[in-house]
């Protein structure tokens, strides 16, 4: 942990307070200028954009994944196994490869456009790739399983205790009230875990906006990457990274309050 996690991060934190040399590189001289720049420069907009992007992706994942996880959790054993298998299959392929596959599907000469053209539904190919929408789609697609799995685990825990739902029905609640007042609150740990698992990688994503957005979409991940690789301004990139890490840690601290509550175990004691 210390060698592979602690030292690199501490080093990054360290250089974020250093000055950049005239031709790149690091000058070991203390400064707060990097952080100053972050908050006053146009780059701050990148961070805000990234936060909005991540919130929307997380929300869409949650809304789509919840019914899906619910269907898995309430399926008979055999179908449950098949559905879970289908959720896990994408993990066997690199997300980079999957993003290329998605690019092929929606590109101007891609699968969807050719089918629509062949059936004369459209006459001009739709311009779907290299847009902000495509970036959303790519990020959503690559993150969805990370939302489904914790939600499924949480819902399965509730389904394993049908007495909570029965008690709710017994007390006069119909199916929808039972869902909103009993099932949903009991799955808050799953919602918190899934949201965190989607939000954090989305905040740091860089190759999906690069590939799907075609350079038109710049998120904080791309910004950091370009500071390190293209602009050769390591201290500035490090400062931006540090900010992202701080945001992430704050979020983890906040949501852990909702995650560690082992509602079900305690309730059945």
């Amino acid at each position: 942990m210390i060698v592979f996690f602690g030292i690199p991060n501490l080093y990054m934190l360290f250089i974020s307070f250093m000055q950049v040399g005239g031709y790149g590189g690091i000058v070991y001289h203390f400064t707060l200028a990097n952080y100053h720049l972050l908050f006053h420069w146009i780059e701050f907009k990148v961070i805000v954009d990234s936060l909005i992007f991540s919130v929307i992706v997380t929300a869409v994942c949650l809304v789509v994944a919840y019914p899906f996880a619910y269907i898995i959790a309430t399926s008979p054993a055999r179908r449950k196994l098949i559905l879970l298998f289908l959720v896990i299959v994408p993990f066997w392929t690199s997300s980079l490869i999957r993003t290329f596959a998605l690019m092929f599907l929606i590109s101007t000469e891609g699968f969807i456009n050719s089918v629509l053209l062949d059936f004369h539904i459209i006459h001009q190919p739709l311009n779907m790739l290299y847009t902000l929408g495509a970036t959303y789609l790519g990020q959503f697609y690559s993150m969805l399983p990370y939302m489904i799995l914790p939600l499924y685990a949480s819902l399965q825990g509730v389904m394993d205790h049908p007495e909570y739902m029965e008690a709710s029905r017994d007390l006069g609640a119909g199916a929808s009230k039972t869902f909103w007042r009993v099932v949903a609150p009991l799955t808050i740990p799953g919602i918190a875990t899934g949201s965190l698992l989607v939000f954090i990688p989305t905040l740091g994503t860089f190759f999906i906006p690069l590939l799907m957005g075609g350079g038109g979409v710049v998120l904080v991940g791309n910004f950091i990457e370009s500071q390190f690789l293209a602009a050769d301004n390591w201290p500035f990139g490090a400062a931006a990274s540090a900010l992202v890490i701080v945001i992430t840690l704050l979020l983890i601290g906040f949501s852990s309050r909702y995650m560690n509550n082992a509602f079900l175990e305690e309730g059945n004691a």
Partner: protein
């Protein structure tokens, strides 16, 4: 029993997959009664309760509550509330919110809810616990919250599924009294499910004894004990000694019964004929030992004795195949020492002979203590 029928079960059947777990089950429960469904696990008693609550749909027959046919009506629309075996309190809500749940669903004003929650918690003695989280409560306290959460809705019927099974003996006895008190104060119909015959006997107005999805007998505790309808009921309700035998003669209202170990008499009952197989039941407390009045039925050696205050429980061994359990009044601990040979005597009028059922006991005699036969 006066009053109107609150719950009617009319020829109810239930199939799970291809097995019939409840067969042609009929039973009436009157308004205000405390009725217990008593049976071993797997006897179908919980399934009956779940069909009344609406968690299971009947496969055949009808369930009526207060004269209304419940067929097709989901649980949330039935005028009953349940206390679950494992309480099923909502772990994400505190005591107050758990108890208030039913009234909030019915959109009562918060002010009224507050009053009613206080009243309900007061009835179960938990006024001071409203803000506690569920996991901070002991088992007994959780049980009380579960009861408060059910009765706050003022149901026509309260259904209780083995509500005390998770509590230790002392707490169980306390809660039995508490439930009796609540039943008196609320005046609503209680339907109680248990495998514990002692619990059933001490709490109920009437008991329905179930086995294999069928109602064996439905009667008051006194009636069940004094006049069990079958050997199965006799062995399930209270303790008894059972002996397999054959009717060899019928004389002056008594059947003369030959068992492998002795010849005795029992009052003639339905199904008795010369040559028919019967099961003779003799309660341990009906047996006397070692006095010379009357002819001894058999002789045996005292194998074990347990002194329990005013009663001594004694096991008399007749031979390898037969040991008879007796409950003797006695205050002296030096009576009936182990190893002593004694006469075993009972009045024919204190024994019952049931026609032998197909699924009956294969051995000459079997001792069925209440809890062993409960299949726990």
């Amino acid at each position: 029993m006066s009053g109107s029928v609150m719950i009617g079960l009319h020829g109810v059947t239930k199939n799970f997959a291809h097995t019939q777990v409840i067969r042609e089950f009929s039973l009436d429960i009157y308004q205000g009664e405390f009725v217990t469904l008593l049976g071993a696990s797997g006897s179908g008693k919980t399934t009956i309760l779940r069909m009344i609550a609406g968690f299971e749909e009947v496969s055949g027959g009808r369930v009526t509550i207060d004269g209304v046919d419940m067929t097709g009506l989901p649980a949330n629309l039935r005028p009953v509330n349940s206390v679950f075996q494992n309480y099923a309190l909502f772990p994400h809500l505190n005591v107050y919110d758990n108890v208030a749940f039913g009234l909030r669903i019915k959109k009562f004003p918060e002010k009224l809810i507050k009053e009613r929650v206080r009243e309900s918690l007061n009835m179960v003695g938990l006024d001071a616990f409203a803000t506690r989280r569920i996991r901070q409560l002991s088992g007994g306290q959780q049980q009380r919250v579960a009861i408060a959460r059910a009765i706050i809705n003022r149901p026509k019927v309260l259904l209780l599924d083995e509500p005390l099974s998770a509590l230790d003996l002392k707490l169980r006895k306390e809660m039995q009294l508490e439930l009796k008190r609540l039943h008196r104060e609320l005046g609503i119909t209680f339907v109680y499910v248990t495998h514990d015959q002692e619990e059933a006997m001490s709490m109920s107005d009437r008991i329905g004894v179930l086995a294999h999805g069928e109602l064996l007998q439905y009667a008051s505790p006194e009636e069940l004990y004094a006049n069990p309808a079958s050997a199965a009921v006799a062995s399930f309700v209270g303790e008894t000694n059972l002996f397999d035998g054959t009717v060899v003669d019928i004389v002056k209202g008594y059947s003369v019964i030959q068992t492998r170990h002795f010849l005795t008499k029992a009052p003639v009952a339905e199904g008795h004929a010369v040559g028919s197989a019967v099961v003779l039941s003799v309660r341990p407390e009906a047996i006397r030992l070692g006095d010379s009045v009357g002819a001894p039925i058999c002789r045996g050696i005292i194998m074990e004795r347990i002194f329990a205050g005013s009663l001594i429980r004694i096991w008399v061994r007749v031979d390898e195949a037969l040991t008879i359990q007796c409950l003797i009044h006695g205050t002296r601990n030096d009576e009936f020492p182990i190893g002593e040979e004694v006469d075993v005597i009972w009045e024919p009028n204190h024994s019952l002979a049931f026609p032998k059922e197909i699924k009956s006991l294969s051995e000459d005699s079997q001792l069925l203590g209440s809890n062993e036969s409960a299949g726990q």
